[in-house]
């Protein structure tokens, strides 16, 4: 939760990646806890996947990439950091309000869980929107997806969680590959998405 705020706050690429690793780690732990609480063994798998894949491999990959592309420089955000933070707080408020209104009936634990999840999702989205840089967007997306996994595990006894999380990991993998794809094609010296628009139709 706070960690995702930290992510919003981060302005250096590597630091951002580290924070994301932390985030994923926390997620894995929470999932593990959930697994313990619901004593649902398959959730352990999810937890392990989360920790291994998101907390270790992908951050490593990203780091390598960042170094290769040497874009340690500042991450230019759209609005200033402060603005983004404000927006984030607003989103938090919104999500909690919605959740509290909605899940009046549900049990407190699930409710907390969902509220967290929703806000993380929103924050991730906000991050994707507010960052100009592809890597940071990817990270935003992954944090969003962390939120989803959190929600999924939060919902007691939800089947297919493993499958879904696996599927999602595939998605992530694709994204990373996609970024590598961009790197491979020297046409774009930077992977800023804005650069892609020059090849758009109407721009002839």
């Amino acid at each position: 939760m706070l960690v995702s705020f930290l992510m919003l706050y981060q302005d250096r690429m590597l630091a951002l990646i580290n924070v994301f690793a932390l985030h994923a780690m926390l997620l894995g732990l929470s999932v593990g806890w959930q697994a313990y609480v619901q004593d649902a063994p398959q959730l352990y798998v999810t937890a392990v996947i989360a920790i291994l894949f998101k907390a270790v491999i992908i951050p490593a990959a990203l780091r390598r990439m960042v170094e290769q592309l040497n874009i340690h420089r500042e991450i230019e955000t759209v609005g200033g950091i402060g603005l983004t933070m404000l927006a984030g707080i607003g989103l938090m408020a919104l999500s909690t309000v919605v959740m509290l209104r909605v899940t009046a009936a549900a049990d407190p634990l699930a409710r907390e869980d969902l509220a967290f999840a929703l806000s993380i999702v929103l924050l991730g989205l906000l991050m994707m929107v507010s960052r100009r840089n592809a890597v940071s967007q990817v990270i935003g997306f992954m944090s969003l997806e962390n939120g989803l996994v959190l929600a999924a595990t939060g919902a007691k006894g939800m089947p297919l969680v493993v499958e879904i999380s696996v599927a999602f990991s595939v998605l992530i993998a694709f994204i990373v590959i996609g970024i590598f794809l961009f790197r491979i094609r020297e046409r774009f010296d930077t992977i800023e998405i804005g650069a892609l628009d020059r090849v758009r139709e109407g721009r002839r």
């Binding site: 989103l91 919104l94 929103l122 989205l125 994707m128 929107v129 100009r132 758009r200 721009r203």
Partner: protein, 673 residues
């Protein structure tokens, strides 16, 4: 026995339509062959004349119904042949038969023949379908199919850019009209979706009737060419091949009139008196603007197209009066008005087809549509000239031809106006009368110009110099129509009696029986009130003219000497010194143009001693276009420009769109009680 035949009639009609569609397919298949055109047009002629006979016979018969398992699945396609349908079926196929006959000859000069053939047959079939369709779906299906096939004909000469543009405007207006009709049917049918006309009739008592009227007026009017919905008409009609222009102007607009009558008089319950006001005002404007625009044209076919607009105005005058009378329960007067309208429908389809054939013949002989390059054709194509003259006299409402009869009846209906109780109508109807009179007079002027500049005088260009008489099929078609003009002019009583079932079905009254009045006079209401006898007038004129001629040739000198034109002793031989279409119309442009077209004339004289020519430049504005169409076009382009920016956003931009959509919806959830 008779009843059996009557029962069969609708089936015959449907069979004929099926055959027409088959012919259309055939046209696709054998379109490239040299024999294709005569074959297909020939078969169209025969089928159409068969339909014509059926319809003419079936006019008096009892209504018959057929339901085919087509169209909307749970309804099926309903077809219904009552007097009204039969009448318009007759009009459609009269035009269709003659046009096909004309086309047999015309096809030789048609370069894109295989693009015309399939659409032509399909077009005929569609128009026939429209008039017998008896449920909203099949009606609109046929209606839109009619537009589509005629669109195909308009763009058949697709190499000229303006043809394609004309086609585009036409198709848009057609779609607009269809959607309007669709909406009106939606209202008539109600949420339950009772699309069958019979059910709609039963339902009646609509709160939304005025809305339906407006929509029907928009829908049918956009096809018929009511101002300001006429914009496509002068573009599309000239663009099509001549027989098709004749069909579109002479017949398709009538199908639109049919749609209006069917919806407003038949499906829609009892009218209010002010409905008549709306229709009349539109009709008056249409008639006047149409004829004035026509006066300003130099393109023969476009001029004719604008005259179609004018005549549609006259027809709708009759309909509007009928509405008003009917609303006030004056059945007899209503019957008179609607008879006038229907008679004019018939007449206009006759002489307008004739005129378009003539224009087509001129076009074929000279390759010119612009009058300024024509002239003196009466010497080279005398028969065409004669036929065209008859048509011109008829459309200018000169007795004893048919155009006069229907306009005379319209006048009679107008003279009955004072009996109406509403003062609004008192003030309006005289103005309508004035508009009608003005339109008639201007039409005469316009056709003096059209005929005089095209056929009379000396040739203004080489192509007019060595023109040649057109082929015999075309001439045959034209003479048939010319004869009809005369017959309908001198024996209108028979026509009126023939169509009386339609009238009585629509307004539950009819004009007094005509055929037993001595000397075939027609008497709208009462003998003492007014009467007209085309036959006698005709005989009179023939008699006195020939008497005078004979007397003179007997008693006075018969000598005759050819000499160069005198022209006040200063003859200039160059044909360019003749009056042109533009100069002929100039006085009228001075009179009306300044108001109607915001026309401005600018004369620049060379300085004294300067040998340069003086120039006269005229600028005119097409007000309806500038007021109604241009702004819409501008608005759409503007919106498109603005929205186009969305094409070029970054992925982040799109994401933020998604994001905000989500936020908004969530907020909605949060605030939703």
């Amino acid at each position: 026995m008779l009843s059996v035949v009557q029962g069969l009639m609708l089936s015959v009609v449907l069979a004929c339509i099926a055959v027409l569609l088959a012919v259309a397919v055939l046209g696709i298949v054998i379109g490239r062959r040299s024999l294709a055109a005569p074959m297909i047009y020939g078969s169209c002629t025969t089928i159409a004349s068969l339909l014509l006979v059926t319809a003419a016979a079936g006019l008096g018969a009892d209504p018959t119904d057929v339901v085919l398992p087509l169209g909307l699945p749970w309804l099926g396609a309903h077809f219904h042949l009552d007097a009204l349908s039969a009448f318009f079926l007759a009009v459609v196929n009269l035009g269709g038969a003659v046009a096909s006959l004309y086309a047999i000859g015309y096809a030789r000069q048609e370069p894109e023949s295989r693009r015309v053939l399939p659409f032509y047959a399909a077009f005929l079939a569609a128009m026939n379908l429209v008039v017998i369709a008896a449920d909203a779906f099949s009606f609109l299906l046929a209606w839109e199919f009619m537009s589509l096939s005629s669109w195909g004909l308009v763009v058949s000469r697709h190499r000229e850019r303006e043809n394609v543009r004309a086609g585009h405007v036409y198709l848009l207006m057609a779609a607009f009209g269809t959607l309007c009709l669709l909406l009106s049917f939606g209202l008539l049918a109600g949420p339950g979706g009772a699309y069958v006309f019979a059910d709609i009739r039963r339902a009646h008592s609509l709160a939304v009737a005025p809305l339906v009227l407006i929509l029907a007026l928009l829908g049918a009017g956009s096809k018929a060419g009511l101002v300001p919905l006429h914009a496509w008409l002068p573009l599309a009609h000239p663009a099509a091949p001549s027989p098709v222009s004749a069909l579109m102007s002479g017949v398709m607009t009538k199908v639109a009139v049919y749609a209006f009558i069917r919806i407003v008089f038949d499906l829609l319950g009892p009218p209010e008196w002010w409905w008549g006001v709306i229709v009349l005002v539109l009709a008056g404007i249409t008639a006047l603007l149409g004829v004035l625009q026509a006066l300003m044209q130099h393109d023969l076919k476009r001029l004719l197209a604008y005259h179609t607009v004018e005549n549609i105005g006259i027809i709708f005058m009759g309909l509007g009066l009928a509405l008003a009378f009917r609303a006030d329960g004056m059945a007899i007067a209503a019957s008179l008005a609607i008879t006038a309208a229907l008679l004019h429908v018939l007449n206009h389809s006759v002489f307008k087809s004739l005129l378009f054939f003539g224009a087509g013949a001129v076009l074929g002989a000279t390759g010119e549509r612009d009058m300024e390059h024509l002239g003196g054709l009466i010497h080279r194509m005398p028969q065409t000239a004669f036929a065209f003259l008859v048509g011109a006299a008829a459309i200018s409402a000169l007795p004893p031809l048919n155009g006069f009869v229907s306009e005379w009846l319209t006048f009679q209906a107008i003279f009955l106006g004072p009996a109406l109780p509403q003062w609004g109508l008192w003030l309006l109807i005289p103005c309508i009368g004035a508009a009608l009179a003005l339109a008639a007079a201007l039409a005469a002027a316009c056709f003096v110009k059209a005929f005089g500049i095209t056929f009379l005088g000396r040739p203004r260009s080489g192509c007019a110099e060595n023109a040649h008489e057109t082929d015999r099929f075309s001439r045959g078609a034209m003479f048939v129509l010319a004869a009809l003009c005369l017959l309908l002019g001198i024996l209108p009583g028979l026509a009126i009696d023939w169509m009386s079932p339609v009238i009585s079905a629509l307004v539950h009254a009819r004009m007094p029986v005509q055929h037993d009045i001595p000397w075939l006079t027609i008497v709208p209401v009462a003998r003492s009130r007014s009467s007209y006898n085309g036959l006698l007038v005709f005989l009179f004129m023939v008699a006195s003219a020939s008497m005078a001629a004979m007397a003179i040739h007997r008693l006075a000198s018969r000598a005759l000497r050819r000499a160069p034109a005198w022209d006040c002793g200063t003859p200039i031989t160059s044909p360019l010194t003749q009056y042109t279409a533009g100069s002929f119309a100039q006085p009228l442009r001075r009179v009306f143009g300044s108001v109607v077209f915001r026309a401005r004339e600018r004369v620049t004289m060379p300085a004294p001693g300067d040998a340069g020519p003086a120039t006269l430049s005229v600028e005119m504005h097409d007000i309806p276009w500038e007021v109604f169409y241009a702004p819409i076009a501008r608005a759409v382009t503007f919106a498109a420009e603005r929205l186009d920016a969305l094409q070029f956003m970054t992925i982040r931009g799109y994401l933020s769109l998604v994001f905000f959509a989500l936020i908004i919806l969530l907020a909605g959830i949060a605030l939703w009680p």
